[in-house]
Symmetry: D2
Subunit: 470 residues, 4 copies
């Protein structure tokens, strides 16, 4: 409704009421003005209607939605299915152009604007979360693994003589596969045990670089979001090493944005050392469906170079999801979620402590890990302990991992002993649970109750009562 239409409406409806409606309309448009001018999360999240209205406005800016347009190209953003058209708000062109995923599309001004704004909002969210030194980022419609692979490929192109990626061991397959997909060769750095916790062996890292020569190293990859009892990598120390030896440093920060301890260390790493790029998942940090990642850096040019490497166009879906979510959350909503997560972590730890001691176990001491917790399963038969995991899963507890520490695994040409435990021989079998963003108190209570009961059942199955263990 533009001014002219409000005037026409006033011929049908009392002018005073129309004026008031027009006033209210301007307030809505002011929301858009603020977004376009400040390019930051609104303090208060937008309501559903305002968001959907804005998405339709963006959609009307794309050529496939121009009235009376004729499209004689091979790709015209036509959407055949009414269901599909609705779920994408009529946005069909995806993001990017042949040469560059961050490039603007002439046929799709609305989609292009959406992407730019999504990048700005993601940047603001990273800063709110604590990574103040972040200067630029891009939301890519690739999950973390593929996004890391893209980053490694870009790194390798900058250092054509290099072939190795130095990687402190984390027992999760994705990052390792990302290295392989990018055509690089991983050099595994084993962790060192300190108390219950597994730490980055920075000395071993330096030794390995010495062996192969700094020029042969594409980059070092640290991981900041890991399952207990592993600690997040010592990114500040690694960054210092990388600065000294002039080696690129990439951080796999998959779900680390949600923990202020982690974000502050990333910030510090950029201040005192070298940290080129850090990659985070959109689904794990912002509760959207799987499919996106944010590639970020203190240096806009690095981000630009990575975007420019992407061959062809890509889906706008993950970009849209993040954009909508951040707009609906607002900064106050996002901050509240971050604060709740901290509270949840403490509550989960307390409850886990209680249930552990009831069953003669204990929570592993992993003060460096702000998200994941481990509980020993020492009183059970090590070989059969994984059955407890299956039992929990069939009781609708998902995400609890039981690790016996005796499995071996082969990924590519690499062999790992004690797979799952991030080291060859972890002293005890254990179970992990994480306090991720969005976890509710009710879920924790449900988990603890079921865990308590399942441990009892499991013990009965094992015919190995607590008392007999002494």
């Amino acid at each position: 409704m533009n001014e002219k239409n409000f005037k026409l409406a006033a011929a049908l409806i009392c002018e005073g009421h129309i004026l008031q409606a027009e006033q209210s309309r301007h307030q809505r448009e002011q929301l858009v003005t603020n977004l376009l001018a400040h390019r930051r999360l609104p303090v208060d999240g937008w309501d559903e209607d305002s968001i959907e209205l804005f998405l339709r406005e963006l959609s009307l800016m794309d050529s496939n939605n121009f009235a009376g347009a004729a499209g004689v190209g091979e790709r015209e953003g036509r959407i055949w299915s009414s269901i599909v058209a609705r779920r994408h708000f009529g946005l069909g062109h995806g993001v990017g152009r042949s040469g560059d995923i961050a490039a603007e599309q002439p046929k799709a001004a609305g989609s292009s604007l959406l992407q730019k704004l999504a990048n700005y909002l993601a940047l603001d969210a990273l800063r709110i979360a604590g990574i103040k030194r972040c200067a630029s980022c891009i939301v890519v419609p690739l999950a973390t693994g593929m996004a890391l692979s893209l980053v490694f490929t870009a790194m390798r192109q900058q250092r054509p003589a290099a072939r190795y990626i130095l990687w402190p061991r984390v027992d999760q397959k994705t990052c390792l596969k990302s290295i392989l997909t990018s055509g690089c060769e991983p050099l595994v750095v084993q962790n060192v045990l300190s108390g219950d916790e597994l730490h980055t062996d920075v000395d071993e890292m330096e030794r390995l670089i010495g062996v192969h020569g700094a020029d042969a190293i594409v980059c070092v990859v640290s991981t900041t979001s890991v399952f207990a009892p592993r600690a997040p990598d010592k990114v500040v120390e690694v960054a210092a090493l990388c600065a000294r030896l002039q080696i690129p440093h990439v951080v796999n920060n998959a779900y680390g944005v949600q923990a202020s301890k982690t974000t502050h260390q990333l910030n510090e790493a950029m201040r005192v050392g070298r940290l080129d790029v850090f990659v985070q998942s959109t689904d794990k940090n912002f509760m959207v469906p799987v499919g996106g990642a944010v590639i970020a850096s203190h240096d806009a040019k690095i981000v630009e170079r990575i975007g420019g490497l992407y061959p062809g166009r890509a889906s706008a879906s993950a970009v849209l999801d993040l954009f909508v979510t951040l707009l609906q959350m607002g900064s106050s909503g996002y901050e509240q979620l971050l604060a709740q997560r901290k509270t949840s972590y403490l509550y989960l730890k307390g409850q886990l402590d209680a249930v552990a001691s009831k069953h003669g176990e204990r929570v592993l001491l992993t003060p460096s890990n702000p998200i994941s917790l481990g509980m020993t399963l020492s009183s059970f038969d090590r070989a059969s302990v994984t059955e407890l995991g299956s039992m929990l899963f069939t009781r609708h507890v998902s995400g609890a991992r039981v690790v016996n520490g005796t499995a071996t695994s082969t990924i590519g040409t690499l062999q790992f002993a004690g797979y799952g435990a991030h080291c060859n021989q972890y002293p005890v079998p254990y179970m992990t649970a994480a306090a991720a963003i969005g976890l509710s108190k009710e879920e924790i209570d449900t988990f603890i109750q079921r865990l308590d009961k399942t441990i009892d059942e499991f013990r009965k199955r094992q015919l190995k009562p607590v008392e007999s263990q002494e």
Copy 2:
């Protein structure tokens, strides 16, 4: 509504009516039964309601939608935004697992089922389109370029000693960037002019292989969907060569599924020679938003290997879009769209002929190209002819490309003369227009009218009437 609930309903509503309703419910469930049992496109497309009902059923099969579930992992498929949840029908887990994009997710039986069914429907669609020898395919949430890159990476891993990809020149950046992203080196094969048409130089291809040695070649990449006046690559001859020299053969079939001439040649290539993998875009062939590709082969193991290379999870969005679209089209709807496209091509050609001769130009003779058409722009100043393209674009004609044939372009380290025209020196400047799937007669008429008018305006601007050119 299960049997028990229908019985309870019969206590409230006349039993006869409930019986009839139950009967009708069974008919709907029979649709699902047929889909699960035959795994092919239904003959008649499903209505919107049946599709949305089924999507919600699938969604309820994922653990994030289990009532009373407790999720203590780092990734639990939580969807924070109501808008986002709705547009994904509550499906949050994406597709694939850390190790394999085609792998089933324990937490997400519904999403996994969706993906399997989408692959089956895509396979059926490829066969309906004419590629009968296709044995297996996978829908990946990557646009064509990134999908090709993934294929090249897989090929390279199979032939670690090789580094070159043989690539008959096509003046579109994506494929070339895919080669570069995969870390391979392109060997460009220039095309040969035959009449107006540009053809694959198979002899030159063999010569180049001889120079570098077959073992140094990762694969040959043919392209089947191209802008006139280039002809689709001679995939049958290339396949024969690849079979003889034992070199893998990949086809970039971006939007070739929609043309039976192309699909039959792919089929023939598999029958008489070697064609390992062919990749096609979901948006260009099936009118969904940008973001997906179908990687297909005559050999299920090849597809499996490529899927297994993918690091981590991926978005389910493109998979969902294709699934919904094919289910809503049905085979009869899809066949009708294919037939309409053929008719549109002939209609466009006829109309273009007319407008060309009116303005002293002619349609280029490119009988091998079943989709794209070219019209000479000989009567205009070659240097300024691209302005006509801009004029058309501002008049809401999208997709018409004006090529003067004198541009140069650098991609990576490669330089191309006459960029846009697929050869160093194309004799005339020209404009292209394509009859892609979904193009309507109304759009063709609008295009032709605007073209006619715009040529007149452009000539006036040039102050250079036809007669004065001699």
Copy 3:
């Protein structure tokens, strides 16, 4: 997106593309301008997106959707359920005020505007359908029966001394109950048989008026949409009689808008005689869910008076449905539907003729009825013939009525012999079928096939073959 916001967007996206998008935005707004200025159906129907965008704009004009509003009344248009809010596009205030259903609501400028526009569009649709003399109408959220009741109440208030409503018999309960609900007393006028057809007995009507005195008559109610073999009432002759005797004349035109024969007679009735108000169903004529009616007249004051009688507010749902439907149809779409219905009628008649003669029956000759057709069931046992109706219903044929003409029915204090057949003794049992708006050729074919088969089955059940009937 207002001008200011487009300017801000141009700082993010190439200005040329933004300009083009803005241009396209203006085209959309022009649609709204046309609607507000001309208040008629657009020639081409609006697309879904444009309609939903406009509904949201209207919704934002209502006070419950003002940002930062404080509502301390007893009714503030709050919508608690997200599902409910979405299905009403946030419109919560309904239509009308305490005193008048057509009155504007200060709190709800958007809802009020919606209602006014819906009335204009309905008026335009009635005129397109042929009732050119219609001067004013109001869409009420009451189905036909309740709307008629409201009209009768208004009529009675104008003639406080009167108590009778003269009503040519139609065997459908609603209108009769409307008369009773309004507190009036019906005077039934039996129909006369002429060939197969049942006609209005205008002479008997005049006689009855003579008996009771014109002043005792609240109004005469004619019915124009009826099941064969009844003909629509002779509205032109009745109108002439009413004009002569100065008695109000109301027409129950439930589903008569769809037949040009009927609309032209209504028009003629207004030209030559007295026709005060005619009432039509929104669902039957415009394919929306049940719940609305259009109360129309040649005189705006009559419509206004009826609206002013309505106590309190009412649902906006039926108004919204009609508004959306007419906007989406456009006049060209609506005209096409009217033309298709005529074709369907002829096709249904032809097919019914064929199936009737195959089974030794015939189609009743009812040339005055443009919608409903009857087929004799003379060759069956009259008492059991209704079973055929049940058989058809269980075979998913709905709407076919089998009438044996021997039933009796009591409504209020009135008794009817031969109920269902509109007269005490119709010569033969029969079945009816109607060619209503929206009926497809496929449905007719399905109906005829099932009818053919069901008659065979029914005959077998009766053990009474055709030949034995002689």
Copy 4:
């Protein structure tokens, strides 16, 4: 997904995961089972997905959604517009049949089931709210006024000799118009002032009945939801009187369900006296869009008789809205809303007290009114005080009523002095504000701030400072 389909799915997906999904599916179906078996609000509200899934299931039970159905009636529930179809979940048949709004439709088992369940849920909600003696109710798609009119018509039919309705004065037009629309004559009972509060004059009521004779009285109508300073009618005393004199008693309980003080009095009235029917608005009590009412009684037969009076079918929209809302709220959600409203009332009263005393005014003492509050405006010029209302409205405060007590109004043939104040001469001008269900603390704060500020501005305009009034 029935058992068979789950089995087929297990051929595609690991059987264990399918089993778990099937289990979860059964949990959902158990929700439906509970609803159909117990016909009460679930304790915990259903989530959106479960509700929408169930609505689609219901929709598939209606004949217009049967696959392969042929409809040859005049009304087949076709929905032309895709937007309209979606917002009604494909439900097109409305509720009721020609003869009875509560009757089941053979063509629409799903819609019929929806209506029955909605009635049960409404009954449960009324009981939860405190009206335990309520035995039956029906949700009608008519707002309160029209619903009351229907009730009065039914009452009148039972007492054909009667013509008067006894009505204690309430200054809101709807009820009075309802009486007029039903063809009855209102007898106004003036209220008596007691302190600040206006009370029912039960003695005058008895006197008036004596004057006209009990047989001449159709019914007495009490009103329980009123603006302060009027108190809700003394329904218990009136019920006792009606029992004694054998006169039907109807209560206009428009928005009284939300106040336990009111519901308990209704309950008591049924226990000790005569209360035939009570009518309440769906929008005001349950936060759905305007358009529905619940007609309830201690006697199922009375409700049935009223339903049977309704001529023809009606919209299902209001029924659907209430059904969805109650299902989504659950009893715990509803109870919480009721509790919050009580808290809001106290908070509003406290804040109003503060702002009143700041400006030299006071809150009227109306302890009998549990929802509405009045604040004196004694320090202002009585004639111009209504301007304050307009000022508040333009500052986005809606629902605050300013009453100067000097207006006169004519409704039908009745004249009212002091209109708005429920009596001919209320001592002071005042403003009202209500704590209705759904009012948030934020809104109260906003209201109080704006009120405070607006009073200041208004006083400046009047140039009449507080001190000068003495």
